[in-house]
């Protein structure tokens, strides 16, 4: 075990479960981000924040976010992006499974190593979607598609910090009281 594992942030905040309000709000926010009017190669390189937030909660809050929610979110993404129904659902469910299996291992690392782990998961999700579309006869999307999982992994650190904040504030309030 390394010293970084025992930082107070990682140990204490998540003892307080995040409320359903925070989970819902973060997912809606991520969906809004994904729904921005992206176009051209920016669309290919768009980091899938819904997936990042989903993996975050599947790791930190495995009791309340699981594969059922992943499936539903995937359907919502398919409708929003007007793709074949079920392809985001399949990718999200597979990645959520990966997050559930790797959960304990990943969370024992500091943020940088966590980022590398989730990068693998995000690349898996992109690969599933690209492969499905190639099967359906689309042409290869090009190198910009490789940016998407990389940008999503880069968002992992800031997002972890952001989603810890409400818990931190609550903790300070309680320790002050």
């Amino acid at each position: 075990m390394r010293a970084a594992d025992l930082t107070p942030v990682a140990r204490d905040v998540m003892k307080l479960p995040a409320g359903p309000g925070l989970i819902f709000a973060s997912l809606v926010g991520a969906y809004l981000f994904n729904s921005l009017p992206w176009g051209g190669w920016a669309l290919l390189a768009r980091p899938d924040l819904v997936l990042v937030v989903l993996v975050f909660w599947a790791m930190h809050q495995p009791g309340s976010v699981g594969q059922g929610l992943a499936f539903a979110l995937g359907l919502a993404m398919d409708v929003g992006d007007s793709m074949l129904l079920g392809q985001h659902a399949l990718a999200y469910v597979i990645v959520t499974y990966g997050a559930q299996v790797l959960r304990v291992r990943v969370l024992s690392f500091p943020i940088l190593e966590q980022t590398l782990h989730v990068l693998g998961l995000f690349i898996g999700a992109s690969a599933v979607i690209v492969l499905l579309n190639l099967l359906l006869g689309a042409s290869f999307p090009g190198p910009a598609a490789a940016l998407s999982p990389a940008l999503a992994a880069l968002a992992w650190g800031p997002l972890t910090w952001l989603l810890y904040l409400p818990g931190l504030r609550r903790m300070r309030r309680e320790s002050a009281a």
């Binding site: 921005l36 669309l43 074949l84 079920g86 579309n133 689309a138």
Partner: protein, 305 residues
């Protein structure tokens, strides 16, 4: 005695069992959607839930473009105005000729049971966004089921055919562009009446005309218009101009590339042609033909993922 874990360790099925279940469900969903198109109701009801979020996300960009329009320079507006007037004069002559032809056609139609193959009715629609599917380029329009839009309707702009409505929501509809892979339009050359099928190539916005013999009379600069024989696109809409003809006698077919006449990428308003071709005349009217009355052919555009 079998030892069971205490009840507070019960978590339902294992993650792997859940994965199997949900992955199979996702694959079943894809098959149902792709092969049978059976999930339109699910898509429609989900899109009602999702639409407000999308509107919120798209609002800043739309507001910005409206603002930019508002402050558009006087100079540009005047230039645009004079261009439009020149175009109007161009079209006026054609319109007068068309009126004469229409009158003649009406006269002939009064004598024959068949009906018009030319488009008349249409709905003006604003382009809300370019769709967000990176694999298939689409336009999202602001007219939907409530305005009577149906999948399969052709969409044109001032210059020619843009594409075809392939999915309809309550208030929006999606247009798959002519240049997309596997989007095909039956066309003809007005110059010599040659019939062909134009197929989107899916890359760099060009259109292929496959399966034309090397001896076919097609030249650079030829203009393809819809032939109207498929029952989806009305006849006479401009589709594309030939940009390259490669006739290599070692191959059976010539390689013909064309550019769409419509500004497939750069328009704000388009017209959805709502007049569907009438079904063939009732069976008794064609009793002498001894063939079963066939339904109108299905829309050509295969709905893409």
């Amino acid at each position: 005695m079998i030892h069971e874990p205490p009840p507070f360790f019960h978590r339902g099925p294992s993650p792997l069992a859940r994965l199997t279940f949900f992955a199979l469900l996702a694959i079943a969903t894809m098959i149902a959607d792709h092969r049978f198109g059976a999930l339109e109701a699910v898509r429609l009801s989900l899109s009602v839930l999702v639409a407000p979020l999308q509107q919120v996300a798209g609002a800043p960009a739309i507001a910005f473009s409206r603002l930019a329009d508002y402050f558009a320079s006087q100079d540009r507006l005047m230039r645009e105005n004079s261009e439009l007037k020149a175009k109007l004069l161009d079209y006026a002559a054609e319109a007068q000729r068309a009126r004469l032809l229409q009158a003649e056609q009406d006269h002939f139609l009064a004598m024959t049971p068949s009906r018009s193959r030319f488009a008349t009715d249409g709905v003006l629609a604003e382009v809300l966004s370019h769709g967000r599917n990176p694999f298939v380029r689409k336009l999202v329009l602001d007219k939907g089921l409530t305005q009577g839009i149906k999948a399969g309707m052709p969409v044109i702009d001032g210059e020619g055919v843009v594409g075809q409505v392939t999915a309809v929501g309550t208030f929006t509809s999606e247009v798959t562009l002519l240049t997309e892979k596997d989007q095909s339009v039956p066309v003809m050359l007005p110059r010599n009446g040659l019939r062909a099928i134009a197929v989107g190539s899916g890359k760099d916005g060009s259109i292929d005309v496959p399966f034309m013999p090397v001896s076919a009379d097609i030249q650079n600069g030829d203009l393809f218009v819809t032939s109207g024989i498929d029952g989806t696109y009305p006849a006479g809409l401009v589709v594309a101009r030939v940009t390259a003809v490669e006739k290599n006698t070692t191959y059976v077919f010539a390689k013909i590339t064309a550019r769409p006449a419509a500004g497939v990428d750069n328009h704000r308003f388009v017209r959805i042609l709502t007049a569907q071709r009438p079904s063939p005349a009732p069976a008794e009217a064609r009793a002498e033909e001894r063939r079963p009355a066939k339904d109108r052919p299905a829309p050509r555009g295969r709905r893409q993922p």
